[in-house]
Assembly symmetry: C2
Homo-oligomer: 244 residues x 2
């Protein structure tokens, strides 16, 4: 399985993806699921992938190939993030159609993508692109999207995340969402790939790969567990009528 | 959907179930999914249900009918909790076979059950009974089972619950697991039915129905949200290399 989470907040974008793929429990590998593109000072684009690995690799492969051969439209020729999402949606649709057009077979090749970024002169955007090639756009009401094994990590985002939150706090919130998922589901695995983009910087961040022994991640994971246990102990005892 | 959670701990058993059923988003009802049986001073049995409502009601109906007509074997005639689980598993298997024996159809009528309790002279047990009628048993390594929409509420159980935990703390942990699920998934809904059984008491608890305006539940839900937000704010900031 996979877990990817993308946030579009007032001050910027946050992306975290795991790297575990599995074809059965005895065929586990590490594959990158977070890809960044861009032209320094002009545009920055991130794609996060979940689902059929051959499909997602083909989508990324086609996008890169068009860039390499300057076959327009490509990621650096389109004018807006909306057109970026359309281009990627069409690419995804075509990749699946190349494998099968049988409606009963199609879903075996499905993938979901998160696409975020900013192009000079327009606002940051974050899209969730469906296997059918259509997509939805994050808003201040719903500032995050998840793909893959999303349920374990959703409660902390629903409870603590807000559009106006400082970027570093949102990043920690997102890391905790991953920590919760990693503990409860073995199909999501370290290392994680993370990227933080500051609004209007048009700078392409290097990002950081977080390994299982990463001291910062280990530290906040432990501190978070302690905070939860303490929080639980501090909750008032149930009243007597709960015990009759 | 449904969320039910059962704990078998050193000091007793804890059961919480939601009450929402849905056949499509426009057909939502309240149905009890936690049923208790017993003979004061002799045996105490709880059944929690998820899945096809006609199936679960038929299982409970047959079990009650056999008790009413004293048709043995029934819940008060068998000798051990293992035999209770076998009886319920067989009943479930028969109920599904009465509707269909077509393997392609069967899964439409599936349900999962948690069965816990104690019979005088033997240890408390907690079983997860599968649609096929077979079952697994909770242990001190794995002291809890969930059925239904279980993923949202699993991280807090995985992080904070332990076999040796005091019953009241485990009860709060379980309530928080429900609060997290209720916030992230509308197919799980209030009121909740809860029951706490103290080891070797052989007392049949009344249990408590927790409505959405329940002051204790509201209080711990708010206090928990505050604790999480504070915990998140107190986590150290990421080091600079996360931001390049």
């Amino acid at each position: 399985m996979t877990y990817c989470c993308g946030l579009r907040l007032k001050d910027g974008l946050v992306f975290i993806s795991d790297t575990r793929t599995n074809a059965g429990v005895d065929h586990i590998s590490v594959f990158k699921k977070l890809f960044s593109f861009g032209v320094e000072g002009e545009r920055f684009i991130v794609i996060q992938t979940s689902g059929n690995l051959a499909t997602t690799q083909a989508v990324i492969g086609h996008l890169k190939n068009h860039l390499a051969l300057d076959q327009k439209p490509h990621l650096y020729s389109v004018n807006t993030m909306f057109e970026v999402a359309e281009l990627i949606g069409h690419t995804l649709k075509r990749v699946i159609a190349d494998v099968t057009t049988d409606p009963d077979e199609e879903s075996n090749y499905y993938c979901n993508l998160l696409v975020g970024g900013q192009i000079k002169g327009s606002a940051m955007q974050l899209y969730h692109i469906y296997p059918q090639g259509n997509f939805i756009c994050a808003t201040s009401d719903t500032p995050y999207f998840q793909i893959g094994e999303s349920k374990y990590g959703k409660p902390i985002l629903d409870r603590a995340l807000s559009y106006d939150m400082p970027l570093d706090e949102a990043f920690r919130c997102s890391l905790i969402s991953f920590d919760s998922t990693l503990r409860s589901n073995v199909s999501v695995g370290m290392p994680l790939d993370s990227l933080v983009y500051r609004k209007d910087s048009l700078h392409i961040p290097l990002g950081k790969r977080i390994y299982s022994e990463d001291p910062y991640f280990e530290h906040i994971s432990k501190q978070w567990s302690d905070a939860l246990r303490r929080g639980l102990q501090n909750l008032p005892k149930p009243t007597d009528d709960y015990w009759l």
